[in-house]
Amino acid sequence: MQKIGVFVCWCGSNIAATVDVKKVAEVLKAEPGVVISENYQYMCSENGQALIRNAIKEHGLTGIVVCSCSPRMHEATFRKTAESAGLNPYMVEIANIREQCSWIHKDIEEATEKAIILGRSAIAKLKLNAPLTSGESAVVKRALVIGGGIAGIQSALDIAEAGYEVDIVESAPTIGGNMAKLDKTFPTLDCAACILTPKMVDCAQNENIDIMTFSEIESVKGFVGNFKVQIRRKARFVDEKKCTGCGVCMQKCPSKKGKNEFNMGLNNRPAIYIPFAQAIPNVAIIDPEQCLKLKNGKCGLCAMQCQVNAIDYTQKDEIIEREYGAIVVATGYKPISLENFNEYGYDTYKDVVTSLELERLMNAAGPSDGHLVRPSDHKEPKVITFIQCVGSRDTSGCGKPYCSKICCMYTAKHAMLIREKYPNTEVHVFYIDVRTPGKNYDEFFRRAVEQYGVDYIKGMVGKVYEENGKLMVQGSDLINNEQVVIPSDLVVLAAAIEPNPSVRKIATMVTASIDTNNFLTEAHAKLRPVESPTAGIFLSGVCQGPKDIPETVSQASACAAKVVGLLSKDKLKCNACVSHSDEMLCTGCSVCANVCPYGAITYVDKEFRIGGGKTELRRVASVNEAVCQGCGACTVACPSGAMDLKGFSNKQIMAEVDAICKR
């Protein structure tokens, strides 16, 4: 017979305001097997834990039930408490009477009854618990960073600086991401290239960093400390090791109609190209859609011109496999497509541009060499109207319900830079609210208004249309309570940002959770903001939620610190709650191996005695406990009931259900 201790937590008023905690402790004390039942204001505090430790020692408890918050919050805490008092940590059960009870109920009587039932259910399970010990697994001392924008670059640099090897896998032909396209950065107005490109060079020169551009993640297997990742290195038709980045091929290429991705398609580039002057690696790439040689076999000029024979038209995609201890997801963002916003005429009028396109139009390395001209006729615009919140804070279903966070500040930046460089230009900004929390941010915005005379209009735009060569921006001015129409030469849309679409595929591969907006979910919104709930997966940059450069860099470094913490361990404790197969029941049908997401199940032929001195050879499942993550998929799939999960056995779960149903 077990000696069980029950500990009911108030969680301040979080639980105690809705659940009569004293009554819960009293009633549960009468359950068979329970020798002590206590309640305390904060069970997770040092005093609360001491209460548990003392009770274990004093009463010789063989198991404890803590009625408190979700096990996701404090199961680990109470397991440690039990262990420090000499109890096996798997003899701890949590009854979640906060998230699943006090927080969702209002009636004290009902909530108290439910808390008692949840407590009984945990006691019923605990009675079937057995002490478990976890194995250990080695940690591969190398990290993978998916995405080579500023987030990925900063995470990689910090991990490398701590002495660990790190690979950056970037889908574009160069690292640098969106930040490389920006002109200047708020709130200090230093040029993006001047602060980003040295970091890109640092990455290239760091011995611990291996950069794989134009590459994608093909598959991810394994678990924290031991990920096996296949990476597709897409054919760039240029030998990366040989190419010197001299650029002669670009000049000679006769096919010059590819859209220049780096300039947001505002001008064209040759079929063979280096994305931009400071690209890392500074290596050419051939666009097979545009290359005459690859399309119809005629041409080959670039290969003839190349002094180092770097061109290889026969190059194929290559898949390499590497092992990592930790994975950083830094897949970043893209502006949303504007197909749902026809009222702004983005598809109709050339001089309606997005903010990212404006960055290129203002950038010294952009299509107009930094001379701000409108795309249609290359004339200097005299009146520029900005429209904020294009698809942000949009509950109509056309855009995104969230605030994209960066647009207020970059629009103020654009407006200010234009007024600075072209003082005769009239600048209007339509806004819903101007949101500028952040160090020196509001001061920055006020400067745009007060010092640079940017005309901010509170209200939204209903329509942009052309009349007599002008773009007429029709909107409402809510402060003056009137309809306004502003004849403009250039209209700039601050489009909402959304996670890079590749994140869904990657989240599936690494089994990380994503929210309804495709942002990756953090393990805890406040206390574990750079970790995914999936062990070994870390989040860096906008893939987790909209953020600007300073915040992205902070998060990227925080993420690196977490990765370094993991890689500095030689061994990791494995999950003790793993599945195992009852060989007497197993028919060797392979169903469990097919559903196992970790590849933890293999089959062995074993000899079994069948009576009469005879034996037979049978094929049975065998679980690799170091690989099993205890997800339980096999126990559900197994048709003969041979698969069972330690700590969550079928019997235990049925005992919980029985306890809940029993009146």
């Binding site: 026809n342 009222e343 279903g397 249309y465 052309e466 009349e467």
Partner: protein
């Protein structure tokens, strides 16, 4: 498939062409239709008060008749379509309205929004098909530059009307192409004509209708087509007078060779 034809009051008085040509086209296109029995006014304006029931009852009566006659409810006038479709949506989704309307009407069988409300243009697009219409055209309106005028009522609120993209619709443009003419795109095709404000503040209606007709003229439209009698009135009486306005059914009848 059967369609229950709902003309509405205006089509019997001011907008007879919309009605007459529609019937001829339906016959020519082989659409199975019959007029709703004992139809009455749709209610004319959709009441925006959340708890308003009385002024929705006549629309419910029409919707229930279509259900009884076992067909989809076919509408022509934009305003009728707007009111009928929105009231139907209420009957489907708003338990309060549904209960009270049924209590008032005491129909043989409770009405809970079963009828599909289909506008004539939707019929052409979704049930006949613009390809089929193209084939049926005997007198293509070649060389005619025609601007589509949608107005507000067919498009918005877009979740309920679910007619076309509310900011950049194309159904009437596709219709214009199907009858062999050239659609002319212009910025104000889905802006308000001034609607009922014409009766109280005509200068505002003049301003709104001028915007539409000026914009269409500047884009090169020789004529406009509409489905709405009120838009027709405003654009004709309050517009710039330089772009004649036609009901779409009249042009369809002409193209199909059934216009007298």
């Amino acid at each position: 498939m059967k369609f229950c034809y709902y003309p509405g009051c205006t089509l019997r008085t001011k907008a007879k062409q919309l009605d007459i040509y529609a019937r001829k086209c339906l016959e020519k296109l082989g659409v199975d239709f019959e007029e709703i029995k004992e139809w009455q006014c749709c209610g004319a304006v959709y009441p925006v008060s959340k708890d308003e029931v009385a002024t929705k009852l006549s629309a419910v009566r029409t919707l229930a008749s279509a259900k009884e006659q076992g067909g989809k409810l076919l509408t022509l006038c934009s305003a009728c379509h707007h009111v009928l479709k929105r009231v139907n949506c209420d009957m489907k989704n708003d338990a309060n309205i549904r209960l009270k309307a049924n209590n008032y009407l005491a129909l043989d069988e409770e009405y809970v929004g079963e009828t599909d409300v289909v506008h004539f243009l939707e019929l052409l697009r979704d049930y006949v098909g613009f390809d089929k219409i193209k084939e049926a055209v005997v007198n293509p309106l070649k060389g005619q530059k025609i601007g589509a005028y949608y107005g507000c009522l067919l498009l918005r609120p877009s979740e309920t009307l679910a007619f076309d993209n509310p900011e950049n619709p194309r159904i009437i443009e596709d219709f214009i192409s199907a009858i062999g003419a050239t659609p002319v795109n212009y910025a104000f095709k889905n802006e308000c004509c001034g609607a009922y404000v014409s009766t109280t503040q005509q200068d505002l209606a003049v301003k709104k209708s001028h915007k539409v007709t000026d914009s269409a003229k500047a884009a090169g439209a020789e004529k406009l087509v509409t489905a709405c009698p009120l838009c027709m009135y405003n654009l004709t009486e309050n517009g710039n007078g330089e772009v004649p306005v036609y009901y779409f059914t009249e042009l369809l009848a002409e193209a199909l060779g059934v216009k007298e």
